[in-house]
Symmetry: C2
Subunit: 182 residues, 2 copies
Amino acid sequence: MAGLQLGAKDSGSAGVHRGVAVLDFILRLVAIIATLASAIAMGTTNESLPFFTQFIRFRAKYNDLPTFTFFVAANSIVSAYLVLSLALSISHIVRSGAQKSRVVLIFFDTAMLALLSAGASAAAAIVYLAHKGNTRTNWFAICQQFNSFCERISGSLIGSFGGIVVFIILILMSAVTLSRRH
Amino acid sequence: MAGLQLGAKDSGSAGVHRGVAVLDFILRLVAIIATLASAIAMGTTNESLPFFTQFIRFRAKYNDLPTFTFFVAANSIVSAYLVLSLALSISHIVRSGAQKSRVVLIFFDTAMLALLSAGASAAAAIVYLAHKGNTRTNWFAICQQFNSFCERISGSLIGSFGGIVVFIILILMSAVTLSRRH
Protein backbone atom coordinates (compact mmCIF):
# COMPACT_ATOMS: atom_id res chain seq x y z
CA MET A 1 0.00 0.00 0.00
CA ALA A 2 2.81 2.36 0.97
CA GLY A 3 4.69 1.16 -2.12
CA LEU A 4 1.71 1.93 -4.34
CA GLN A 5 1.33 5.44 -2.91
CA LEU A 6 5.03 6.06 -3.37
CA GLY A 7 4.78 4.85 -6.98
CA ALA A 8 1.87 7.19 -7.68
CA LYS A 9 3.73 10.13 -6.13
CA ASP A 10 6.83 9.26 -8.14
CA SER A 11 5.01 9.17 -11.47
CA GLY A 12 3.23 12.46 -10.68
CA SER A 13 6.51 14.16 -9.86
CA ALA A 14 8.06 12.66 -13.02
CA GLY A 15 5.25 14.26 -15.03
CA VAL A 16 5.96 17.65 -13.46
CA HIS A 17 9.67 17.16 -14.17
CA ARG A 18 8.91 16.36 -17.81
CA GLY A 19 6.80 19.51 -18.10
CA VAL A 20 9.62 21.59 -16.61
CA ALA A 21 12.10 19.92 -18.99
CA VAL A 22 9.93 20.80 -22.00
CA LEU A 23 9.66 24.42 -20.76
CA ASP A 24 13.46 24.43 -20.33
CA PHE A 25 13.84 23.33 -23.96
CA ILE A 26 11.45 26.04 -25.22
CA LEU A 27 13.16 28.76 -23.16
CA ARG A 28 16.53 27.73 -24.60
CA LEU A 29 15.11 28.09 -28.11
CA VAL A 30 13.84 31.58 -27.21
CA ALA A 31 17.27 32.51 -25.81
CA ILE A 32 19.03 31.20 -28.96
CA ILE A 33 16.85 33.42 -31.15
CA ALA A 34 17.31 36.44 -28.85
CA THR A 35 21.12 36.24 -28.57
CA LEU A 36 21.58 35.34 -32.25
CA ALA A 37 19.40 38.28 -33.27
CA SER A 38 21.47 40.57 -31.03
CA ALA A 39 24.74 39.33 -32.52
CA ILE A 40 23.49 39.70 -36.09
CA ALA A 41 21.89 43.11 -35.53
CA MET A 42 25.10 44.46 -34.00
CA GLY A 43 27.44 42.62 -36.37
CA THR A 44 25.83 43.97 -39.54
CA THR A 45 25.61 47.57 -38.34
CA ASN A 46 27.29 49.85 -40.81
CA GLU A 47 26.43 53.40 -41.73
CA SER A 48 28.02 55.65 -44.32
CA LEU A 49 27.11 59.30 -44.16
CA PRO A 50 25.88 60.83 -47.45
CA PHE A 51 28.60 63.51 -47.45
CA PHE A 52 32.34 62.91 -47.67
CA THR A 53 35.48 64.92 -48.28
CA GLN A 54 38.19 64.00 -50.71
CA PHE A 55 40.17 62.09 -48.11
CA ILE A 56 37.76 60.87 -45.49
CA ARG A 57 34.51 59.01 -45.86
CA PHE A 58 32.42 59.19 -42.71
CA ARG A 59 31.54 55.65 -41.84
CA ALA A 60 30.48 54.01 -38.61
CA LYS A 61 30.85 50.26 -38.16
CA TYR A 62 30.30 48.21 -35.03
CA ASN A 63 33.97 47.23 -34.81
CA ASP A 64 35.11 50.85 -34.55
CA LEU A 65 34.47 50.30 -30.86
CA PRO A 66 36.12 47.21 -29.29
CA THR A 67 33.26 46.91 -26.81
CA PHE A 68 30.83 46.16 -29.61
CA THR A 69 33.17 43.49 -30.97
CA PHE A 70 33.10 41.90 -27.51
CA PHE A 71 29.30 42.18 -27.51
CA VAL A 72 29.05 40.29 -30.82
CA ALA A 73 31.54 37.66 -29.62
CA ALA A 74 29.75 37.16 -26.27
CA ASN A 75 26.35 36.80 -27.93
CA SER A 76 27.71 34.36 -30.53
CA ILE A 77 29.42 32.22 -27.90
CA VAL A 78 26.29 32.13 -25.74
CA SER A 79 24.02 31.19 -28.62
CA ALA A 80 26.46 28.46 -29.76
CA TYR A 81 26.52 27.11 -26.18
CA LEU A 82 22.70 27.17 -26.08
CA VAL A 83 22.50 25.11 -29.29
CA LEU A 84 24.83 22.49 -27.73
CA SER A 85 22.88 22.54 -24.46
CA LEU A 86 19.70 21.58 -26.34
CA ALA A 87 21.06 18.01 -26.48
CA LEU A 88 21.18 17.80 -22.66
CA SER A 89 17.82 19.54 -22.44
CA ILE A 90 16.25 16.87 -24.70
CA SER A 91 17.88 14.11 -22.64
CA HIS A 92 16.18 15.61 -19.56
CA ILE A 93 12.79 15.34 -21.27
CA VAL A 94 13.44 11.63 -21.85
CA ARG A 95 15.22 10.78 -18.57
CA SER A 96 13.58 13.10 -16.07
CA GLY A 97 15.56 11.71 -13.09
CA ALA A 98 18.99 12.85 -14.33
CA GLN A 99 20.98 14.78 -11.70
CA LYS A 100 24.63 15.14 -12.69
CA SER A 101 23.81 16.54 -16.11
CA ARG A 102 21.55 19.11 -14.44
CA VAL A 103 24.38 20.28 -12.20
CA VAL A 104 26.63 20.57 -15.28
CA LEU A 105 23.92 22.63 -17.00
CA ILE A 106 23.53 24.94 -13.97
CA PHE A 107 27.28 25.54 -13.90
CA PHE A 108 27.58 26.39 -17.60
CA ASP A 109 24.33 28.38 -17.57
CA THR A 110 25.76 30.47 -14.73
CA ALA A 111 29.05 31.08 -16.54
CA MET A 112 27.19 32.01 -19.74
CA LEU A 113 24.87 34.32 -17.78
CA ALA A 114 27.94 36.17 -16.48
CA LEU A 115 29.43 36.40 -19.99
CA LEU A 116 26.18 37.58 -21.58
CA SER A 117 25.48 40.17 -18.91
CA ALA A 118 29.09 41.42 -19.19
CA GLY A 119 28.76 41.86 -22.95
CA ALA A 120 25.33 43.45 -22.78
CA SER A 121 26.13 45.99 -20.08
CA ALA A 122 29.51 46.98 -21.48
CA ALA A 123 27.77 47.69 -24.78
CA ALA A 124 24.97 49.51 -22.96
CA ALA A 125 27.52 51.77 -21.25
CA ILE A 126 29.00 52.74 -24.62
CA VAL A 127 25.58 53.16 -26.24
CA TYR A 128 24.62 55.51 -23.41
CA LEU A 129 27.80 57.50 -24.07
CA ALA A 130 27.06 57.62 -27.79
CA HIS A 131 23.62 59.04 -27.07
CA LYS A 132 24.40 61.44 -24.25
CA GLY A 133 28.13 62.04 -24.40
CA ASN A 134 29.93 63.29 -21.32
CA THR A 135 30.85 66.93 -20.89
CA ARG A 136 33.35 66.41 -18.06
CA THR A 137 35.60 64.18 -20.15
CA ASN A 138 34.89 65.94 -23.47
CA TRP A 139 33.39 62.83 -25.03
CA PHE A 140 30.75 64.11 -27.40
CA ALA A 141 27.55 62.34 -28.37
CA ILE A 142 27.93 60.84 -31.83
CA CYS A 143 24.25 60.01 -32.34
CA GLN A 144 23.46 63.35 -34.00
CA GLN A 145 25.63 62.35 -36.95
CA PHE A 146 25.17 58.62 -36.96
CA ASN A 147 21.47 58.36 -36.41
CA SER A 148 20.54 54.98 -37.86
CA PHE A 149 23.78 53.50 -36.47
CA CYS A 150 22.71 54.52 -32.98
CA GLU A 151 19.20 53.18 -33.40
CA ARG A 152 20.61 49.85 -34.56
CA ILE A 153 23.10 49.44 -31.71
CA SER A 154 20.48 50.42 -29.12
CA GLY A 155 18.00 47.92 -30.54
CA SER A 156 20.50 45.09 -30.58
CA LEU A 157 20.81 45.31 -26.78
CA ILE A 158 17.22 44.14 -26.29
CA GLY A 159 17.87 40.54 -27.34
CA SER A 160 20.82 40.30 -24.97
CA PHE A 161 18.93 41.57 -21.95
CA GLY A 162 16.06 39.23 -22.83
CA GLY A 163 18.60 36.40 -22.86
CA ILE A 164 19.79 37.36 -19.36
CA VAL A 165 16.25 37.07 -17.99
CA VAL A 166 15.79 33.69 -19.68
CA PHE A 167 19.06 32.41 -18.15
CA ILE A 168 17.99 33.44 -14.63
CA ILE A 169 14.68 31.57 -15.13
CA LEU A 170 16.52 28.51 -16.51
CA ILE A 171 18.86 28.33 -13.51
CA LEU A 172 15.94 28.74 -11.09
CA MET A 173 14.01 25.95 -12.84
CA SER A 174 17.00 23.59 -12.72
CA ALA A 175 17.51 24.32 -9.01
CA VAL A 176 13.82 23.69 -8.23
CA THR A 177 13.92 20.41 -10.17
CA LEU A 178 17.04 19.28 -8.31
CA SER A 179 15.47 20.08 -4.95
CA ARG A 180 12.19 18.29 -5.74
CA ARG A 181 13.62 15.09 -7.15
CA HIS A 182 12.15 12.01 -5.35
CA MET B 1 22.03 -4.21 8.28
CA ALA B 2 20.76 -2.30 5.28
CA GLY B 3 19.37 0.30 7.71
CA LEU B 4 22.76 0.64 9.41
CA GLN B 5 24.57 1.13 6.10
CA LEU B 6 22.00 3.72 5.08
CA GLY B 7 22.47 5.51 8.39
CA ALA B 8 26.25 5.54 8.00
CA LYS B 9 25.94 6.90 4.46
CA ASP B 10 23.50 9.56 5.69
CA SER B 11 25.78 10.83 8.43
CA GLY B 12 28.78 10.81 6.06
CA SER B 13 26.88 12.85 3.51
CA ALA B 14 25.68 15.23 6.28
CA GLY B 15 29.33 15.79 7.21
CA VAL B 16 30.22 16.63 3.62
CA HIS B 17 27.20 18.96 3.48
CA ARG B 18 28.34 20.71 6.65
CA GLY B 19 31.82 21.18 5.18
CA VAL B 20 30.35 22.64 2.01
CA ALA B 21 28.10 24.93 4.09
CA VAL B 22 31.11 26.23 6.06
CA LEU B 23 32.99 26.83 2.78
CA ASP B 24 29.88 28.65 1.48
CA PHE B 25 29.96 30.91 4.55
CA ILE B 26 33.67 31.69 4.11
CA LEU B 27 33.29 32.42 0.39
CA ARG B 28 30.46 34.82 1.18
CA LEU B 29 32.71 36.66 3.64
CA VAL B 30 35.39 36.91 0.91
CA ALA B 31 32.83 38.25 -1.56
CA ILE B 32 31.57 40.83 0.97
CA ILE B 33 35.09 42.16 1.45
CA ALA B 34 35.78 42.18 -2.31
CA THR B 35 32.61 44.01 -3.36
CA LEU B 36 32.72 46.43 -0.43
CA ALA B 37 36.35 47.27 -1.22
CA SER B 38 35.38 47.87 -4.85
CA ALA B 39 32.52 50.16 -3.88
CA ILE B 40 34.65 52.14 -1.43
CA ALA B 41 37.67 52.39 -3.76
CA MET B 42 35.49 53.71 -6.56
CA GLY B 43 33.26 55.84 -4.37
CA THR B 44 36.12 57.77 -2.75
CA THR B 45 37.97 58.44 -6.01
CA ASN B 46 38.60 62.13 -6.40
CA GLU B 47 41.50 63.90 -8.05
CA SER B 48 42.17 67.62 -8.29
CA LEU B 49 44.87 68.68 -10.72
CA PRO B 50 47.57 70.97 -9.25
CA PHE B 51 46.93 73.72 -11.83
CA PHE B 52 43.71 75.68 -12.23
CA THR B 53 42.52 78.75 -14.05
CA GLN B 54 40.54 81.55 -12.49
CA PHE B 55 37.22 79.97 -13.41
CA ILE B 56 37.76 76.26 -13.70
CA ARG B 57 39.38 73.82 -11.32
CA PHE B 58 40.26 70.57 -13.00
CA ARG B 59 38.74 67.86 -10.91
CA ALA B 60 37.81 64.27 -11.62
CA LYS B 61 35.30 62.47 -9.43
CA TYR B 62 33.78 59.04 -9.90
CA ASN B 63 30.27 60.46 -10.33
CA ASP B 64 31.29 62.54 -13.34
CA LEU B 65 30.51 59.35 -15.24
CA PRO B 66 27.08 57.79 -14.55
CA THR B 67 28.47 54.33 -15.24
CA PHE B 68 30.73 54.59 -12.20
CA THR B 69 27.78 55.64 -10.06
CA PHE B 70 26.03 52.47 -11.23
CA PHE B 71 29.16 50.49 -10.40
CA VAL B 72 29.19 51.80 -6.82
CA ALA B 73 25.45 51.16 -6.45
CA ALA B 74 25.70 47.62 -7.84
CA ASN B 75 28.62 46.71 -5.58
CA SER B 76 26.90 48.18 -2.51
CA ILE B 77 23.64 46.31 -3.22
CA VAL B 78 25.49 43.04 -3.76
CA SER B 79 27.53 43.35 -0.58
CA ALA B 80 24.40 44.28 1.43
CA TYR B 81 22.65 41.20 0.00
CA LEU B 82 25.65 39.05 0.90
CA VAL B 83 25.53 40.24 4.52
CA LEU B 84 21.83 39.28 4.69
CA SER B 85 22.54 35.92 3.02
CA LEU B 86 25.00 35.04 5.79
CA ALA B 87 21.98 34.28 8.00
CA LEU B 88 20.75 31.59 5.58
CA SER B 89 24.29 30.35 5.12
CA ILE B 90 24.66 29.84 8.90
CA SER B 91 21.30 28.07 9.05
CA HIS B 92 22.65 25.64 6.40
CA ILE B 93 25.62 24.83 8.62
CA VAL B 94 23.20 23.91 11.41
CA ARG B 95 20.47 22.24 9.36
CA SER B 96 22.37 20.63 6.51
CA GLY B 97 19.24 19.03 4.99
CA ALA B 98 17.49 22.29 4.10
CA GLN B 99 16.30 22.42 0.49
CA LYS B 100 13.90 25.30 -0.09
CA SER B 101 16.23 27.89 1.41
CA ARG B 102 19.00 26.62 -0.88
CA VAL B 103 16.81 27.16 -3.94
CA VAL B 104 16.02 30.68 -2.69
CA LEU B 105 19.75 31.32 -2.28
CA ILE B 106 20.53 30.02 -5.80
CA PHE B 107 17.88 32.33 -7.26
CA PHE B 108 19.11 35.47 -5.49
CA ASP B 109 22.77 34.54 -6.03
CA THR B 110 22.04 34.30 -9.75
CA ALA B 111 20.27 37.65 -9.86
CA MET B 112 23.10 39.30 -7.90
CA LEU B 113 25.69 37.68 -10.19
CA ALA B 114 23.94 39.30 -13.16
CA LEU B 115 23.84 42.69 -11.39
CA LEU B 116 27.49 42.53 -10.30
CA SER B 117 28.74 41.45 -13.70
CA ALA B 118 26.68 44.21 -15.33
CA GLY B 119 28.19 46.87 -13.07
CA ALA B 120 31.73 45.55 -13.38
CA SER B 121 31.76 45.24 -17.14
CA ALA B 122 30.03 48.56 -17.81
CA ALA B 123 32.68 50.23 -15.64
CA ALA B 124 35.42 48.21 -17.39
CA ALA B 125 34.20 49.45 -20.78
CA ILE B 126 34.47 53.06 -19.61
CA VAL B 127 37.85 52.50 -17.92
CA TYR B 128 39.15 51.04 -21.18
CA LEU B 129 37.92 54.15 -22.98
CA ALA B 130 39.57 56.41 -20.39
CA HIS B 131 42.89 54.62 -20.96
CA LYS B 132 42.85 54.17 -24.72
CA GLY B 133 40.30 56.64 -26.03
CA ASN B 134 38.73 56.02 -29.43
CA THR B 135 39.89 57.87 -32.51
CA ARG B 136 36.88 57.03 -34.67
CA THR B 137 34.45 58.71 -32.31
CA ASN B 138 36.88 61.46 -31.19
CA TRP B 139 36.73 60.32 -27.58
CA PHE B 140 40.17 61.10 -26.20
CA ALA B 141 41.97 59.21 -23.46
CA ILE B 142 41.75 61.16 -20.19
CA CYS B 143 44.34 59.13 -18.31
CA GLN B 144 47.26 61.34 -19.35
CA GLN B 145 45.79 64.17 -17.27
CA PHE B 146 44.09 62.22 -14.50
CA ASN B 147 46.72 59.66 -13.73
CA SER B 148 45.96 58.63 -10.17
CA PHE B 149 42.21 58.80 -10.90
CA CYS B 150 42.69 56.24 -13.64
CA GLU B 151 44.81 53.95 -11.50
CA ARG B 152 42.17 54.04 -8.79
CA ILE B 153 39.21 53.26 -11.05
CA SER B 154 41.13 50.44 -12.75
CA GLY B 155 42.07 48.91 -9.40
CA SER B 156 38.56 49.06 -8.05
CA LEU B 157 37.40 46.67 -10.81
CA ILE B 158 39.46 43.81 -9.37
CA GLY B 159 37.22 43.26 -6.34
CA SER B 160 34.13 43.15 -8.52
CA PHE B 161 35.50 40.56 -10.92
CA GLY B 162 36.71 38.52 -7.95
CA GLY B 163 33.15 38.69 -6.60
CA ILE B 164 31.80 37.33 -9.91
CA VAL B 165 34.07 34.28 -9.69
CA VAL B 166 33.00 33.66 -6.06
CA PHE B 167 29.32 33.83 -7.06
CA ILE B 168 29.79 31.25 -9.83
CA ILE B 169 31.48 28.91 -7.31
CA LEU B 170 28.71 29.52 -4.73
CA ILE B 171 25.96 28.64 -7.24
CA LEU B 172 27.83 25.52 -8.34
CA MET B 173 28.28 24.42 -4.71
CA SER B 174 24.59 24.91 -3.92
CA ALA B 175 23.61 22.93 -7.04
CA VAL B 176 25.95 20.06 -6.13
CA THR B 177 24.57 19.99 -2.56
CA LEU B 178 20.98 19.93 -3.85
CA SER B 179 21.76 17.04 -6.21
CA ARG B 180 23.55 14.98 -3.52
CA ARG B 181 21.00 15.36 -0.74
CA HIS B 182 19.68 11.97 0.58
